[in-house]
Symmetry: C2
Subunit: 293 residues, 2 copies
């Protein structure tokens, strides 16, 4: 979307995607848009990051530290990093790893690489950005938001990005693991009363941990938001289901796993989250073994 709007974009990715994109452009198979977009792509950090003003940091939470260290040699002092990741602690983790001050971003999108060089986009596609509390209030978020808006990516600036990240976290915690276990679309999941009730328990646990961390979410608001999400993304399946289908590690550790760990520290019981984490860990192990075995 940025490249389409005239921004100079370079993609850094794995060889099969880079080869396909170099040959045919990026095929965006979207909700309104079906286009081949000519765009530069490379597997090389050095090449991709040369003179980068803005880096969209879009790696799975399991790779946050390693990816941060990989880009570190190519950062200028004024390079802006946006953490386009799930979870609530990735900006902190990037900071701990390389002392950068990334912009925490809540990304709402349902999309999948369905073939080399092909993105299938099935839901939403909007951003919330904000300054991390206690960090330098630079760069100017207005400029970033304007760049996204111009590219038809709605981008809101938040005064309390932690609450926005946690709100998205609650949605991920409610849907991702259950969708991966049942391989069901969100719309179908909420039609099942026991699955919906279980999701509500997971939301309650996640909200309790958020509140203990000083982020005053409302459980009722979150439950309503989750039900609206299922309406809006009826046919979506979670990125976790996609990871498992590909025999890749999931982000469970940064989602329900984070809730369980923080719950233990804060003295909050999280039994529903715990069983989800345990089941996904087994499924992950089985999926990896079946790929390799």
């Amino acid at each position: 979307m940025l490249a389409r709007s005239g921004v100079d974009v370079k993609l850094i990715g794995r060889a099969p995607h880079v080869t396909a994109i170099a040959r045919d452009g990026l095929l965006l198979d979207g909700l309104r848009i079906h286009e081949r977009i000519p765009i530069s792509a490379t597997t090389s950090m050095a090449e991709g990051l040369r003179d980068a003003a803005v880096i969209l940091f879009c790696v799975k939470s399991v790779s946050t530290e390693s990816a941060a260290r990989e880009i570190q040699p190519f950062l200028a002092t004024d390079t802006t990093i946006l953490s386009f990741q799930n979870g609530v602690d990735n900006a902190d983790r990037i900071h701990s790893a390389i002392l950068a001050y990334p912009i925490p971003t809540a990304v709402y999108v349902a999309a999948e690489m369905t073939a080399p060089g092909t993105v299938t986009h099935t839901g939403r596609g909007d951003l919330i950005i904000g300054h991390h509390a206690g960090w330098p209030r630079r760069p100017d978020l207005q400029l970033l938001a304007a760049m996204f808006d111009q590219a038809e990516i709605p981008c809101r600036i938040s005064d309390g990005i932690a609450a926005d990240l946690w709100s998205k976290m609650v949605m991920n915690c409610a849907y991702n693991a259950l969708s991966a276990l049942t391989r069901a679309q969100y719309g179908r999941m909420v039609q099942s009363e026991p699955v919906r009730d279980f999701g509500v328990r997971v939301i309650a646990e996640t909200v309790a941990v958020a509140r203990a961390e000083g982020v005053p979410l409302s459980e009722q608001d979150m439950v309503e938001a989750a039900l609206r999400l299922a309406e809006k993304m009826t046919r979506a399946t979670s990125s976790m289901a996609q990871d498992l289908a590909r025999g890749r590690p999931t982000e469970i550790d940064s989602l329900n796993g984070y809730v369980v760990r923080r719950g233990k520290v804060l003295g909050i019981d999280t039994p529903a989250s715990e069983i989800l984490v345990a089941m996904i860990q087994l499924l992950e192990e089985s999926a990896l073994n079946q790929r390799s075995g």
Copy 2:
């Protein structure tokens, strides 16, 4: 095993298996035995059941009534039917469908058709038979047990087969759905504390329903038996996992689903069983859709 011991056995099954068995015999890839066993096989009920003295009724619980009606035309008055099925009500269901008096049988075995005409046998292989309470006490169970024992299939005669069926039901309820959701082997499942705890909750609910039905199982005995089962069948995965992998309907309705339904009638809460049923139903639907779609 029966055919190996000299019993005249006919298999009735689907065409791919029948063709392979007619050509090469049945390949038994077992724990101690690896043999090709010459054995007659057919897809035809008429041919397979002609002059049958004993029928081993080995169909999934979802097909109990339809299979019973299919065999009905070929039954003699003294044909013995053994229900080799999961669940606790299949003998009753066969009786309701065709007025026969099948012998309820608890089958303990881990086995799978891994290729046309190939059985892979990975655990146990023993039977418990008994007369259904309130039904005619014929045929002579000693003769049946002797036939199995001679074929190296340990067979115990029980005075209270309902308790044996329920004991096996508890094991199935504890393992099958969780193993299907996590695609994990039993040995691995019990190593995960939250999964083990969840299994214990499912056992408690199932035992409570059994007791309300007049079958006085002990929760502690059942938990211990479940842990022993995992030791004995470390590498087993459930038949439910196999069904889902093949895009076939599962037996959830006769297992945890039965517990939930009877629990509702008897006023017993079964929340852990309920969420398992709901998740397996979604997974079943997804698996079927993915096979057909």
